[in-house]
Amino acid sequence: MRRKLNAKLGILSLYVAIAISIGFLLIFIFSIFYKGSSVLSWSFLFSAPRAAMTEGGIWPALVGTFWLSFLAVLISVPVGILSAVYLNCYAQKGNWVSLVKICVNTLAGIPSIIFGLFGMALFVNLMGFQVSLLSGALTLAVVSLPIVINASYEAISSVSGDFMEASYALGASKRQSILRIMIPTAMPNILTSVILVTGRVAGETAPIMFTAATFFNRQLPRSVFDEVMALPYHIFALMTEGTHADQQVPIAYGSALVLLLLVLLISGSALILRYQLRKKRQW
């Protein structure tokens, strides 16, 4: 009897745990949608903020986030893939490679605020790029680099050695085999990870606080040396700066909804892509 009761209660506790978790998350997402959708409109998306942030839209912040993420990924993806190629195909297997991999893993776990400090010390101050789109994009590139390297390394290692062997046997050099067989074969998997990383980069706030973001900038950036507005930072600033909380909070919700949709769209498409790939994987 006792055993039966324990078992019943135990299983019940699992139902409770999943119900609370899902309930929690649903309330969270629902409230962002509910409060955000009331301010969402075309003019909200496509106009600049007005009247000391109490009116207007988020267009400069959207553009800033686009440029920051785009440039960051543009830098980190080729560098990351080529580094993974080096580790996988050229470096002597052994201690050196595992040391590098441990470092990369460790760095993937470092808090993003530390990346922000690093970016400030190196790009903003030492290199003199100031608080700018460039400094922010470089910092975000460093944030995403360990993730890109790990993902590319995994994807490349999973390319069957048979393909490489066949390529060599047809007279291809190592470079040709890597560029024409290995990377294209690994590309779908790399691509999924790149999309996921883009989503993550677009939502980062701490790394750009001191390197790129500004609270208010009516104008769109004209060069990489301009300060930019960014959607995540915009949300933070609306909540913590300025004096008209009651007008700023709805705008913050609207911005949060846009950011949330953006990130879910990006990472959702990566997951769908991965699902499709698994389904039709033939090798």
């Binding site: 808090p111 701490a206 909540m239």
Partner: protein
Amino acid sequence: MKKLYDSLFYLITLICAVGTMIMLAGIIISIFNEGLPLFRHVKIWDFLFGTFWYPTHAEAEFGISTLIVGSLVVTLGALVIAIPLGLGSAIFISEIAPAWLREICKPLIELLAGIPSVVYGLFGMALLAPMIRQLFHLDSGLNAFTAAIILGLMVLPIISSMCEDALQSVPKALREASLALGATRWETITRVLIPASRTGVIGGVLMGFGRAIGETMVVLMVAGGSAQMPKSIFQSVRPMTAAISAEMGETVFRDIHYQSLFAIAIVLFIITFGFSLLSETMGRKR
């Protein structure tokens, strides 16, 4: 000609790999380089264990014990919430839910893990904090308790998905053997599955800890921000990440305040580095 391109390509990959390593080493070097000079003015002991954080006073003091405690309170609070819920959800998804539900849950959890932290921060600040304030009759809802709830909500998907992976990697035969011996499903879960997937579960918890203690936006927005020793969880705290991000804007390049914030970053780095090494070695043993 072809040989030349081959060597050139090799060289490019080498430069990328070495460049990456330099960048990554540069992170560590730069925070130490900017932070260590503080200890010419402040004793390490006073820095770590001093209870007064008055970086901008005329008689400045740089004791970060209140900040460390702030970080720990919020992080541990988050784990107290997230571990049972995350593990419970993981067991449910892995052991009780039908296959089709599991197929839906997994990507959903991954999506949730990707939601930007500032969105959680907004939710905590604008919605949860007023509720907490009313519920517990507090002066302000921005405190360690609220921050812990939000952080817990944030690391929940991470812990849950790692635990789920660990449970899934337990061989099916083990489950069947236990059930065949007459154990109930619950006994199978607690006596067989959880012990068998223990390293993975602990890895998930360590990862959750690392994420929570390093999280910036949520604590910056929700934890209240007073650098004081909290007497209860309903008091306002100033975790390390919040101090760094809130104060960096006020500093002058390489003044003592700037250095002290980098010194906090060193402490933070050492903690997270220790935890990732720990989970790395756990993973190795498996």
